[in-house]
Amino acid sequence: MLRPEILSALQAAVGEEWCLTSKADLVAYSYDATPLYQRLPDAVVLPRTTEEVAAVMRVAHEHRIPVHTRGAGTNLAAGTVPAEGGIVLSLNRMNKILEIDQENLTATAEAGVITADLHKAVEAVGLFYPPDPGSMTSSTLGGNVMESAGGLRGLKYGVTKDYVMGLTAVTADGRIFRAGGKNVKDVAGYDLVKLICGSEGTLCIVTEVTLKLLPIPETKRTALAAFPDMEAAARAVSKIIAARIIPCTLEFMDNGTIRAVEEYVGLGLPTDAAALLLIQQDGPASVCDADIARIAEICRQEGATNVEHASDPAEQDRLMQARRWALSALARRKPTTILEDATVPRSQIAPMVAQIQRIAEKYRLDICTFGHAGDGNLHPTCMTDERNKEELERVEQAFAEIFAAALELGGTITGEHGVGEAKSPYLEWKVGPVGIELMKNIKKAFDPHHILNPGKLFAGETRKRVVVRQ
């Protein structure tokens, strides 16, 4: 409970209507998309402007109240769960696209703009904003920036941080600042923009972003290839890249995922295949045609049992279906779906998938893997039931072992979902004690009183590192 004078100061900052404290409203902001995490805030504040955000932060700073910024609450690391109560600062009302600059090829938008809305707006004028996280129809640009979200087009086009050129933000004590801008080249001081990308609401509150745009690619071609074993699929991925082709999408599904999709939608997928690769290339038609033909050839050479490719949009859509249904098909199997994103260098995909399968068997769990083969970003997805506490223990152990295995292979504990609270016990495994110390010092410089998203990134205690038996 916030003291009445604090509450009235917050109400003065954003207007009474946008300061919520009813029991129901507190419950409604106690979670995000991360299973098993939930805690009540003391108040929910929904500002409309940067100035209002600054006013809220001045109140929070004065009274040392934790502030957990929230976009659409679709993150998978408990990043917006108010670990220490306080305020949930929801930016979804800041949803105006401010400018599409066709000369400088930039878009400037408020942080609460929904990713897919920006896509629509820029595509309407023949421009292209590549980052396309699976959650793009509901996630916000602010949330994307704060997690440096990736997506299906990451292999060729990179991730959110590669597109953030400038931003407007509010400091922990309520001052407004701008970093970066529309300059393609800008080395004036430390690169605050890049530092803030992926900082998960722990350094400042982003209220506006300026994003880089590209001309929209002329067309697309799609191929789907089925492989009898994982190694063959992995070899095909390496050979495609080695042939100097960078497809815009190179997705992968393991046998468990293929069977789940087939069971659910019946697309006629080969349920005996060990792996499916879904490949898409964009660009001028002649280049796409040549690339996809060459990709299909490589897949066959590497032992693909079945390769389909398409140029007709409806046909391409049919091929994409398999990947699009993956999460739905898995999510329907059991009540609780835990979606992780352990990531390895591209060359280590086959051993990583083998490790995941071994670990799933060891802990007697239902884990299927799909993901972005092109950039080594895998989504081992565990179907479980949160009511089964004993199984949940095993899930936790299994994921600890999966993260350890990824690190062993030169990978990372999270490719695009972020650390948040859920993966904070593992951060030190990846960045080491010096890394943690440097990060904590950066945090202190931005947020000396520790009021911005406390309880995230840095764990009270690092988990004991599991030793992976190869």
């Binding site: 609450g73 959650s135 996630s139 739905s328």
Partner: protein, 428 residues
């Protein structure tokens, strides 16, 4: 009967938020408790005894029940079922006002009540009571602004003589292809008697023997939306009993919302051993008018000049999964132009009784809708459900479009086109 919120159903929600942009009330209010994900989390908190059902009365009342969140959900969460459980719990501690319950139970809840209401409404209009009542602002005083707004747009209803002339069965024109049972509905048949007759006419011309089984009543949607689970079950059983004896090929309705309720009798009665199989057999036969016409077509139609647009009925689209057939019928109208209404899949704000109980939010959503209709430049806005029909009549009037845009049911449009092509069949 005490209805609990089902743990299995709420746990299916993985809180991904994919349903947020599909939800009209979230779009208007922009707070999580007005979103599907939020409402499920709140009902879960009630189930877990963390909140009292009264704590979440406002968020539940503000839900349109349009179920646009269901097709948007990757996890297949059955939001409609959870909502009904929540509302049933709410109705236990916050019963409907006695007069409303009485009206639901008797006026809409029995075949005799429906007949009586139709007669009473006709008499009310005939005696020009409406001008007196409006002058005294009586409807608004008794039923609130929503009811008053609706009262103003109700068209003149069929007379008792017209109703008495209705036959219990209409034979197929030409060779019989199917035997069809027609579900009349309560409000639809009271206010839009003509529409039902038009639909019957079209179906007979397509080779259907159309029967109007006696003993049918209200579909029960209005009851389950209000949390009156037991009353809804009573309606379902009555209708199943009325229809199952005939051995019909199809059971057809013209109201998207009623049809959706009929189609879900299998779910409503799934746990009742005496009724589960009968309900499944019943639901499997249900079709929407436009769906069946498309299936039986092509139907010869005459010139229907004008620009047409179409507003989905939420329950027709999201529950019955019928979106293409009405559009295809309109696109096939000779001499007509069809324009897609932007965001046609978004609720118009009627949402059954919502337009009466939540008039302010309903009007906000409606005005948005009317603006979109204006932008299409359509001369006819076609609807496929009774509450939407009334709501859009109100919306078009509020937007000052009454001179430019007609609001018509798909069955009325198709019937006119069919008669233009073959007027000889008129007497069928």
């Amino acid at each position: 009967m005490k209805v609990q919120i089902s743990e299995d159903l709420v746990l299916n929600c993985m809180r991904c938020g994919f349903c947020l942009p599909a939800c009209p009330t979230y779009r208007e209010k922009q707070v999580e408790s007005a979103s599907p994900r939020g409402r499920i989390a709140l009902m879960r908190a009630v189930m877990e005894d963390k909140l009292d059902i009264l704590d979440i009365a406002d968020p539940l009342d503000a839900c349109l029940g349009c179920r646009a969140c269901e097709p948007a959900c990757p996890a297949g969460v059955t939001y409609g079922a959870i909502l009904e459980q929540g509302r049933a719990q709410l109705a236990e501690v916050r019963p409907l006002p006695g007069v409303v319950r009485w009206a639901y139970r008797w006026l809409l809840g029995t075949p005799g009540g429906i007949k009586f209401s139709a007669w009473a409404l006709w008499l009310y209009q005939k005696l020009h009571l409406s001008s007196l009542v409006r002058r005294l602002n009586l409807v608004e005083k008794i039923g609130g602004k929503g009811l008053a707004d609706m009262e103003k747009v109700i068209p003149p209803v069929a007379s008792p003589a017209q109703r008495a002339a209705r036959k219990p069965a209409y034979p197929a024109v030409g060779a019989r292809r199917y035997r069809v049972a027609f579900f009349l509905g309560c409000l639809s048949d009271i206010v839009f008697f003509e529409t039902n007759q038009n639909a019957i006419d079209v179906l007979t011309r397509l080779g259907c023997d159309v029967e109007l089984p006696a003993g049918q009543g209200c579909c029960g949607a209005v009851h389950s939306h209000a949390g009156e689970h037991a009353m809804a079950v009573e309606q379902a059983k009555r209708n199943i009993a009325a229809f199952e004896a005939g051995g019909y090929d199809f059971i057809v309705s013209t109201a998207g919302g009623c049809g959706a309720a009929l189609r879900e009798y299998d779910k409503l009665l799934a746990d009742d051993p005496d009724w589960a199989d009968r309900a499944r057999a019943f639901s499997a036969r249900c079709r929407d008018f436009s769906e069946l016409v498309e299936q039986l077509g092509p139907v010869p139609m005459g010139e229907m000049p004008g620009t047409y647009t179409y507003q989905d009925s939420c329950h027709l689209r999201n529950v019955q999964k019928v979106a293409a057939p009405p559009r295809n019928l309109l696109k096939a109208l000779p001499g007509a132009r069809f324009v897609e209404l932007p965001e046609a899949d978004r609720c118009c704000g009627a949402a059954g009784t919502y337009m009466i109980t939540q008039a302010l939010m309903s009007d906000r959503i409606l005005d948005d809708k009317s603006e979109k209709v204006r932008e299409t430049g359509a001369s006819t806005l076609v609807v496929a459900n009774t509450p939407c029909h009334l709501e859009m009549l109100e919306g078009i009037q509020r937007a000052g479009l009454a001179d430019q845009v007609q609001v018509r049911h798909i069955a009325d449009v198709v019937a006119e086109a069919v008669r233009k092509a073959a007027p000889a069949g008129e007497e069928a």
